[in-house]
Symmetry: C2
Subunit: 391 residues, 2 copies
């Protein structure tokens, strides 16, 4: 087990407290990050439907494809009898769904009844829970009233334990190795895909002490004119002198992610880019200095915008987001966003990717800091210089 039995018990207890607060007598978890958080189950099996049922009390049950359920105990700490495989013949069939079978199995395992159970939460916006999956449960267990859990487990994950922070510090070593590999590979004439190859190698190799786990998102290298599209993936386009190259990547360890972004200028930076970099570094540091427990997230956006306004600059997208466990397609936790609309307040143990992505006319600039909120401020997970890097 990656974490102690006590820590898994605490996680489950926290989830159940929140279930009670939301009026839920059961919870259906389909997000692989949430399954990993509660049971340790970890495999690239989420492309076929999976489900963890969390009742108000008693053991949880994990449902997965038969071939995956068979060896699930290699990562999942649930006892064998609580890991159930659905038959292979339900996979990728047009008019039946694995959850038709799972609904029946749930009926058999739990005496489903409206009075005893009431509302059951489902993750209405998780990446691996489709409308067809939802419909199978709605029709297969009509006694249950399924309601949105509103990222219930994700919210519990927002505050990390010391053991989780320790793993993120290890992930940060992978991040550092991957960013160094990127900085070494970036040069005029290099193909983007060769830079990506160098990064991908370092992301898996990690260091002699810390192995690299697969990242939830591939390295992003917005370059030159394409920098106006932050999520464009690489091709064999060659980097050219005079271009800024944005590098956004993450190191991962045991599914915990520490993302990092830097911008490399191949040659002499245009005055506007250097000015942007200076302003962003100033604003980013004011934000980091403001971060501590009890500060509202909205205050960070205010501080950031105030510095930018002094220099007559603006940034419309969010300034960062909560990070931790990640599976494709995202290493964000889909909970706290650093922006003025967010009503959350910082607490010790929260971890964020504070990212300033600026898209100017034809030029992209990004710099970020992955941090943990401590009792008195923030701990930076990596220590790269925060300014424009020149090559």
């Amino acid at each position: 087990m990656l974490f102690s039995a006590e820590e898994y018990e605490q996680r489950l207890a926290a989830v159940r407290r929140r279930m009670r607060d939301q009026g839920l007598s059961g919870l259906i978890v389909t997000d692989p990050a949430n399954m990993f958080y509660l049971t340790g189950y970890n495999a690239w099996s989420f492309y076929t439907p999976q489900l963890l049922y969390v009742p108000a009390s008693g053991p949880m049950t994990l449902f997965a494809r038969e071939m995956d359920a068979h060896g699930a105990q290699r990562t999942c700490w649930l006892p064998e009898e609580d890991i159930v495989g659905y038959p292979e013949r339900y996979v990728h069939r047009p008019h039946i769904h694995p959850f038709d079978w799972v609904a029946f199995a749930l009926r058999q395992r739990w005496e489903v009844a409206p009075a005893a159970h009431g509302c059951i939460g489902v993750e209405m916006d998780s990446h691996y829970y489709s409308p067809r999956a939802h419909r199978a449960l709605v029709h297969g267990i009509p006694e249950w009233t399924l309601v949105d859990s509103f990222e219930l487990v994700n919210w519990i994950r927002a505050i990390k334990s010391p053991a989780e922070i320790a793993i993120m510090r290890q992930a940060a070593q992978v991040t550092t190795a991957a960013m160094n590999a990127a900085l070494n590979a970036v040069e005029p004439g290099a193909r983007q895909n060769d830079v990506a190859a160098a990064i991908a190698h370092a992301q898996a190799a990690g260091t002699a002490e810390v192995w690299g786990d697969f990242p939830a998102i591939v390295p992003m290298l917005p370059t030159g004119e394409g920098a106006d599209t932050p999520h464009l993936t690489w091709t064999d386009r060659r980097l050219a002198a005079g271009e800024p190259v944005v590098i956004e990547l993450a190191g991962a360890h045991h599914r915990y992610h520490v993302p990092l972004a830097r911008t490399v200028m191949l040659g002499e930076p245009p005055a506007q880019l250097q000015h942007t970099a200076d302003v962003v570094a100033e604003a980013l540091n004011e934000v980091l200095e403001t971060m501590r427990p009890d500060v509202p997230v909205a205050e960070l956006a205010r501080v950031w915008n105030a510095v930018l306004a002094r220099h007559e600059m603006v940034k419309e997208s969010r300034l960062g987001y909560s990070i931790g466990i990640g599976y494709p397609p995202d290493w964000g936790e889909r909970t706290i966003s650093l922006r003025s609309e967010d009503e959350q307040v910082l607490a010790a143990g929260m971890t964020f990717h504070v990212i300033a992505g600026m898209w100017l006319d034809g030029i992209g600039y990004e710099v970020s800091e992955p941090v943990a909120v401590t009792a008195t401020g923030v701990e930076r997970f990596t220590d790269f210089p925060q300014n424009l890097i020149r090559r």
Copy 2:
């Protein structure tokens, strides 16, 4: 544009014919592979909701997050006015969804009315279409009756054009480079993650002529006892002499995938493993020799099972699946599966990953062939020996 305007027109016409056959006067596409197929749009932006609306006639409309819509034309051939960005403030908010905004925008762009439009197809089981997204459309456009499109575009994708086959031949060069990198890295004492690093490097680097695109699934290395769990991802466990190591990976080029699996024996293979490998090679070749247009898919399963039965062996899971464009978490197309329940018939231009994964007591063995169905048989995309590889 990656393909000719004529090819994109043919794809859209084929989709619209199938829409008519299924009684649909509109189609909502959310699977990034289907969006890429119809519009060329390609970015790692699918972690926030995206939608392509395909009316029965007239221009398609692509909706994406504002920061992604802004530069979407770098990959998408739709005219600028048909690419619409939804505001950043809709991203990852608990009680609103981007499709609340998109539903309103669709109402404005298209005169939604039940009489004129009738049923609109939605991809009820696509990975990036959540129940919350579906609910936003149901409530936002009550005039539309949304029905399952049953992988409508995926089915059109099942038969590849010559231009698509040509790209898959290029992807196969990446596959070959990646498999060779794996075979070089696998040795007793090597950490699994270092083998994965070598593979990941080759997958992106490709060759001097063909760049490697990111694969939809990370390399799988089921080894030793863990080989009973086909989708377990790597750790820093060291390979040991006497173990079989399964390698399953894909090369990708312009999002088209050619997957391949081989098993490497570190030392002298146990008699049972060598016997399994021999039987599987025999069965696999009988299957490949059977493949040609007009042969029912179920016949392949019958041939396969007959050879295994002669040797008193069985395999329960499917023998392969349709391949082509892939995004995480899957490089399969979720249409044709090579198994006895499948009612499809082979046709020229179909492409498959024919994969024999055998899980014996404590030992895993996998070997596969990626192939295209030709007018007279099959074309193998790669040419690795089909037997157990010794190191």
